[in-house]
Every structure is written in C-alpha cells, then in structure tokens.
C-alpha cells in the first residue's frame, strides 16, 4: 500500500466530508457530517450545562465482527 495513496485517501475524504458530502464505500461504510444541536445537559447533582452546537463526523458501517467469541 503506497503512502501517496493513504495521503490522497485522507485528503480526498477530508475535502469531501468538509463539503458536507456523504462518502459511501460499499463493503465498508459511510462517512457523513452530522450537526448536533445545542442542548442542555442536566447532571444529577443539579448542574445544568449548555452544550454548544457542533458538526461531527459520523461513520456508519454494516460490517460486523465475524469471529465473535
């Protein structure tokens, strides 16, 4: 496996994800940017925290471990 390929792979995926494109590699999974709304989190000790909005990468895959023990 060539390092130029790995580098290009990272770069292309990053560019595409940044452009909010969904990258689907069959047999592997999909990369997608998901927006998380701002929300409040309440702790049991009464602390309430406002969590800011965020864009996060989400990877979904149907691949499952085959030799599950």
């Amino acid at each position: 496996m060539k390092s130029t390929f790995i580098k290009a792979f990272k770069e292309v995926l990053r560019e595409q994800i940044l452009q909010k494109n969904k990258v689907e590699i069959d047999g592997f999974g999909t990369f997608e940017v998901v927006h998380r709304k701002q929300h409040q989190k309440t702790y049991e000790n009464g602390r309430v925290v406002m969590v800011p909005p965020a864009d996060v990468v989400e990877f979904k895959s149907k691949v499952r471990r085959s030799n599950e023990n």
Binding site: Q40, N45, V49, S61, R65
Partner: protein, 471 residues
Amino acid sequence: MKIDRAKLIELLVENTGMAADEIDSQLKQLIDRILDAAERGKALEIKEFGMFYFDESGDLKFDPSDELSTEINFKYAGMEPVELKPPRSGSDDEDEQSDEPAGTATGEDLDEIFGLDDRDDEPIEDDAEGPDGGALISPPDKVDRDVDPFSGLLGDASSKLKGADKPEGESAEEPEEAGKEEEDPFSFILEDEPEEPQSELDTEESDDLDDTEVEDDEPLFDLDDEVEVESDEPPFALDDEDESDEDSEEFFDPFSETDKEEPVPMAEDSAEEEEPVTKSSTYKKPKKKERDPIMLVISIGLIVIVIVAALFIIPDLFDSSDDVSQQPQPQAQEEAAPPISESPAVEEENQAVLTPVEPEEGSEVTDDEPQAEETLDQPVYGLMGDLVDSANNGYSIVLHSLQSEDRAREQAASLAADGYRVLVSPRSVSGETVWRVSVGQFETLQNAQAAAAELPSPYSSNNFIQRIQTN
C-alpha cells in the same frame, strides 16, 4: 452530494495521478487491512484522520482524529459548554449524571450565550424555573427543615441547601461549614486543572507540535500505530455517551470556575448576615467595649515604640541600601524590616502584587498555554513575515480562490509585497482545480480566526480558514 465508490476512486485518481485500477486495489487493500486489524481486536489508526475498530457489540466504529473533528467543526470552533446552574452543594458526591434534558431554558438567555436560534425544544421543568437561573430546586422536605430565616431571603439555592442539610440548632457552626463550602469549589478546580490540557483544543495543539516535523518523511501509515485493544475491554470508551460526557466534563472546568464563584460570595454574605445576629456578635461586642480603653493605651504605646524604633533603624537601612541600590533587593528590606512600621506596608504591597497574579494564572490556564507557546514560537507561526516550513502543520486564512494559477500567483505576489506570509495551494473542488491564496501560518484555528478578523476590510469578512496542506 453523495460520493460513492466509483466517484471516490475518480477523485483519488485525480489527486494521485495513479491509474484507476491501481487505486481500486489500493482501496481494497486499505479496507482489508482496517477490517483485518479490527478482526484481531486491534484499532487501526490513520494519522491525522482517525481510528477504526470494532466496538463491544461487534460493530465497526470510527473515531475521527482531533485534527479532523476540529476541522469539521470549524463553524463552532471556540464554543465551549457553559454552565447555567452550578451543582447543588448538598450532593457533591454524586457525580453521575442523567441525560434527560431539563432545566431553565429561558430562550433569551440561551440566545445571548450562543447567539443562535437552533436550540432543542426541550421539556421545561416547572419547578426548576427561577428568575436568574437559580433557586427553588431544593426538594420540599429540605425546605421545610430550613430553619434559617435569612438564607431564604438570599434567594440562592445553594445557600438554602447548605442550611437545609444541617440538623437544627447547629447554626453556631455555620461559619466553619460555610468556610468549608467555600473552599470546596476551589479544591475541586485545582484537582481538575491538570486535566484541562486534555480538552480537545489543547490536545490538538500539542499534537500539532509533536507532528511538526513528521509531515512528509515518516510513513503515514504504519502498523506500529495499531493500538492493542483487547476485544472485550478496549482502552477507550466505546460508548459514545460516556466519551462525550467525559469530554464535556473537562470542558466545563473553565466555566465552573467563573460560575462557582457566585455561590461563594453568597455564602459569605449569609455567614456574615446570619452570624452577627445570632450569637457571636452578642458576646463579642460588649467585650470589645470593655477592653477599648486598655487596648487604646496599649496600642498607642506600641505605636510610639514602633515609631521610635523606626527612627533609629530607618537611617541605618537607608545607609546600607544606598550602597546596594534599594529596589533590586526587596528581600533584604523585608528581612530587616519586620519590626518597623513601614514593613507591613511593604509586605502588603508585595502580597497585593502577588495575589492578583495567582488567580489570573488559575483562571486562564487554558489560554495561557497556547499564548506562551506562541511567544516562544513566534517566528514559527504568524500572519506576517516569511513562510516557515515547520509551521505547515497549522492553519491558514484563504483570501482568494482562483481558477487560474497565474492570477493566483499575481495575488500572492501583491500580498507578499504587503508583508504577509503567502501560501498558494491547488485544491480540487468538485472536479475542478482551484488555486487558493492564503496568508499566515497559525498553530490553531482560534489564532487564525482572531487574525482573520483583523485583516484589512475587503478580507476581514471575506475569507475562510483551511488546514495547510503541502503536496
């Protein structure tokens, strides 16, 4: 737009210049390798991209690297969780948390905090609503036990609970307990401060520093990076919720400092307001009055003695200090000075100088570190000057994105003439190559954003920030 495998291969061919079938086999190899490592219970990490592994339930998971997630999240960079309500002081030991959203969602407050409208519509707890975000959370039975007439007037939930948690008739001990309560938030902060560098931004910076010279030569993809993960108990949190919770907890610290200070003055107030009325004042004040004349005489005598002593000692001091030039040796003065009336002033001054410094260090821990690094590395990162190769792991402000290389070079030359660090880099955007002219090399997204805001007018509003990529 959806990028499927064929489109991805197309883009990769464009990027590398390799043949399509070669790319296809390379991609297969990569996927096989990731899956193979994952099958063996290991996590395979692609540097500056992320880590692939199987989680407990056997699903393939991907953890984006800090670089990637920071870049994806560029719109909200610098936004950190804000504490709206401090923890109830009575239940400090309960650190577990519930995910159920609740609280005091007064919309104006939230908009003020983030300047955004996209908050969740969440159920609002009826009895958790207070005029200023505080108050009234305490369970009714505790309120009933609250004997103290004054804590209720303060309208501060924490002070109420403090009073409520104590058995009746212990009001005499309140100052001590109040003191403990006051110290607690600080000790909590101190314990947590070392953890702060683990927050996302900081780690990212440190990663960047570590990687400064790695860019081109090191293998981008080495198996040494495979992290041993025992299949049943992986070292990292596989549960998304847990992880985000940990992260956010670390994030809160800077805020918890500021917010926790609020209850402290209240506690002081309550101690001051309650105590004089109940016991201490009634006993102490009369005593003071009786002693007053004696104290007066004694204190006058002391003052006279001190003045006389000072008259004798000060000239000596000046004599000796003239030789050594007084200012650089405040220590000598302090050592000699204690008996002198001036010395407390000197010491007070020193303390006054020292004390404000300490809280600043404490409160700005997160900010200080990058600043310190910056000042050290100032030639490395910055907006103006010459390009520094080792700063190519950072961020740059894109001012022009042009389709012709010549025009990009022209723009770059004119910007370089103005003294900026200029980078010209080709990127392929939706199949076309564009030439991006960017200025500055910045260690962090935040620094880049700050610098972008101060650019001259056409650029200050019309720019975006990208990671520097050298090919």
